[in-house]
Amino acid sequence: MATVNLWAKDGYMSTPDGNSIYFWGFTGDANRPAQLPGPRIVITQGQEVTVNLTNTLAKPVSIVFPGQRGVLAGGQPVQPQYDAERLVSFADYAPPNGGTVTYTFTAEHPGTYIYESGTYPYRQVPMGLYGGLVVRPADFDADTNKTAYGAGTDTGFDREYLLITGEIDPKLHRAVEQGKACSAGGYRPRYWTVNGRCAPDTMMKDSVPYLPRQPYGSMIMAERGERVLIRYIGAGVQTHPLHPHGNHTRVIAVDGRLLRNGEHDRSYNRFTVLVEPGRTYDQIFRWDGLGYSEQNPIPTILPNLRNMGIGDAGWTLWSGSPYLGQKGDIPVGVVSHNELGEYYFMLHSHAEPQITNWGEFPGGMMSMIAVYPSLSPVVGTLP
C-alpha cells in the first residue's frame, strides 16, 4: 500500500533569462509551494496506490493516469464529468478552493507513466499540472536485480534518470494568471523545459536554492560502460526529437509497455527518439569510448589551445585534455567547470529553436550526459 498526497497550487517558475512565469503545479506537501513538474511518484508493481488530491486553485482539477487499469475515484470507477451536458473533465475532479478527491489503483505493469490533469486538460496540462510516475517491477532489488521490467527482460541498468519535457507559452500563462481567455490556436511556446527547467538550469543539481519551484535537474551522470536507463515523458503538446550525443540508445519500452512479445524482442536503436505528446519512452544508453588514453594516445595533434575557441562566453565544461579522467591547461580567460576530467555529451531536442530561451541559444530543451571516471553509487537513483 502506498499513499501519495498531492496538492494543486499555483506559483511562479524561473527562466534563465530572468523571466518569472505563473504556472499551476502539483506539490507533495501542504506547506510546500507548487513545483514543476509535480512530485515524482515511485511505486512497485502490485502495490495498491491511494492518491489524495487537494485542490487550492479556483478551477476544478483532476488527475488521470494513462496506462493504469481500474482507477477508482472515491471507490467508484472514474468517469468523465459534465456541467450541463458540456464536458469539463475526463475524470472525477477535486472542486475548486480546497476540494478533494481520492484515487486508487493497483499498479499492474512496471514502466514509466505520466500523471496529469484531466480537467480542461488543453489548458491545465500546458500550465504545468503534470508529473512522472515510475513503477518498478515486482522483483526489483537495487542491489541484485535492478531492471526496468523484471528479470529475463534484458532491461538491467546501473543508473536511471527521468526526463520530463514540456513547453511554455508565456501568453497562455499570463492569460490564466489574469483570468482571461486564450485561444489554443495561438499556442506559440517561447520556452522549452526538461523537468520544468530551461537550460542551463537543466544541468544543475536537484533542489538548487535559487529554483525553489523547479526541484529536479536533468544532468545525466554515469561511469564508462554503465547502462543508463533514461526515462522520457512528453508532457507538453508538441513533439520533441531528443538526440543524445555519444551513442545510440536502445528503446526498450513505450508508454510503460515492454517492446517484447514473448521471446520476440523488438526493442530498437535510435540516435534520435521522437517524444510525442503524452508518450513515454524507456531506453538504455551506454558509452564505452574508443579506448584512448595517455598509453593509447589520440592519432591527431592538439593545437595550441590559445589559438582555438574554448568554451562559450568565457566558460567551458571541458577538462582541457582529450582523455577521460585527465585535466589539461585551459587558457587564461576561460573558466572550466570540469570536476574530474569527465566527458560531457549534449542531450537535446534537434528541433533547434527548442534549445533556446525565447530565441537565445543556449537554452531550452537541452542537458548533458556526463561520463565520469568514477562516480558515487548514490548518483542516478530515483527518487
Partner: protein, 332 residues
C-alpha cells in the same frame, strides 16, 4: 582499411530558389588538397548541402576543419565545429560541441578523426550556436558503406548494411531541410532573429526546391547547390533512398504508386535485440529532425512517379507557386 584525409572549409555563400530569389547561407566546402596559398579563393563559396562524406566502415578518416571566415559578414567572428551526428562512442574532443570541447576560430584549423565501425546513413553539421548555424546551412550527409561490399564474393554489388537483404542497384540521398528567408536575410545584414518565430517559406531536398530538384547536379543557375534529387532507374531495380532530416520540422513523405520498405533507421538496420527482423513497409515515411532513414523500393512499371511531402502546405515556393519538398522518380 583506407586512410581518408579531407579538408573542409567553413565559410558563407548564396543559394538560389526557383522564384529567382537569392539567400545568404553559411556552409562547408571541400578544399582537400588545395595549397595553402589557394584556400582563400574558397571564401564565400559554401555549398548546400555541405560535401558528402562517403567512407567504408573501418576506414580511418581525418578531417581538417578550416574556418575561412565570412566575406559578407567580416564582423562576425563565430567559430565553427564539425559534429558527426550519431557517431557511436565518440569522445568530446571530436564531437564538435563548443561548450564541452573546442571550436575553430577564423583562420585556424583543427583535425577531427573518425574510425566508423558500422555502416549507415549519418549527417554532420556545425554545433556552434546550432539553431543559427544549422538553419544557415552548415549541414551535410555522411554515408558509411558496409564492409560486405569489399568481399570478393560480392564484387561490384552494393548494400546498405552487412546483410544481403539490403542490396540495391541505385542510391539517392534525400537531404531534407527548410528555409526561413527572414533569418537568412537578417544574418546577412547583421540583425538578430527571434528563433521562436521560425516559420519557413521554402522546403528543400538536397538544398533545392522543386522544380530545381529535378535539374541535373551541374546547373549553371545553381552553382552552390550541386546535388540533384531526381531518381532514375530501370523497372525491377532496387532503389535505396537515404533520407536525412536536418531541418527543424517533422516531415511526411509519400511516393504515389510505390510502397517503401524501411530497412534502416538512424544508421542501424531495423533489427531487434536478437536480430529480429523489424523492417517495415510503409506508404508514408515520417522523419523527425535529427533522424535518418534507409528506404528501399523496387522500381515499378515504366513511368513518372512523384515523391512529395504529404503536408501539402509545404509543397510551395514562398506561397507563390507549386514547388518545395518534391522530386520525380523516372522509371525507364
Amino acid at each position: 582499411m583506407a586512410i581518408i584525409r579531407k579538408r573542409y572549409g567553413a565559410t558563407d555563400g548564396w543559394i538560389n530558389m526557383p522564384d529567382g530569389s537569392k539567400h545568404y547561407i553559411f556552409g562547408f566546402n571541400d578544399i582537400t588538397g588545395i595549397p595553402e596559398s589557394g584556400i582563400f579563393e574558397f571564401r564565400g563559396k559554401a555549398s548546400l548541402p555541405a560535401p558528402l562524406l562517403e567512407v567504408y566502415e573501418g576506414d580511418e578518416v581525418y578531417i581538417t576543419l578550416t574556418n575561412l571566415g565570412f566575406p559578407t559578414r567580416p564582423d562576425l567572428d563565430d567559430t565553427h565545429t564539425i559534429h558527426w551526428h550519431g557517431f557511436p562512442n565518440q569522445i568530446p574532443l571530436w564531437d564538435g560541441v563548443p561548450e564541452v570541447s573546442i571550436s575553430v576560430p577564423v583562420g585556424r584549423d583543427f583535425d577531427y578523426y573518425y574510425k566508423p565501425l558500422g555502416p549507415g546513413t549519418y549527417m554532420y553539421h556545425c554545433h556552434f550556436e546550432p539553431v543559427e548555424h544549422i538553419q544557415m546551412g552548415m549541414v551535410g550527409p555522411v554515408i558509411v558503406r558496409p564492409g560486405i561490399e569489399k568481399d570478393p564474393d560480392y564484387q561490384g554489388r552494393r548494400f546498405a548494411y552487412n546483410n544481403t537483404i539490403t542490396e540495391f542497384d541505385r542510391e539517392v540521398i534525400l537531404f531534407l531541410t527548410e528555409l526561413d528567408l527572414r533569418p537568412h536575410d537578417m544574418v546577412a545584414n547583421a540583425q538578430e532573429f527571434d528563433w521562436t518565430e521560425y516559420s519557413p517559406q521554402y522546403w528543400l531536398i538536397n538544398g533545392r526546391s522543386y522544380p530545381d530538384t529535378i535539374k541535373p547536379g551541374e546547373d549553371e543557375g545553381l552553382p552552390f547547390q550541386p546535388l540533384s534529387s531526381v531518381v532514375k532507374a530501370y523497372q525491377g531495380e532496387k532503389v535505396l533512398l537515404r533520407i536525412v532530416n536536418l531541418g527543424f520540422q517533422d516531415h511526411s513523405l509519400q511516393i504515389l504508386g510505390i510502397p517503401l520498405k524501411v530497412i534502416g533507421q538512424d544508421a542501424r538496420e531495423m533489427r531487434g535485440y536478437n536480430s529480429e527482423d523489424l523492417s517495415q513497409w510503409r506508404n508514408t515515411v515520417y522523419i523527425a529532425p535529427g533522424q535518418t532513414m534507409d528506404v528501399i523500393f523496387t522500381a515499378p512499371a515504366a513511368g513518372k512517379y512523384i515523391l512529395y511531402n504529404r503536408s501539402h502546405d509545404k509543397n510551395t515556393v514562398n506561397g507563390t507557386s507549386f514547388g518545395g519538398m518534391v522530386t520525380e522518380i523516372d522509371i525507364l
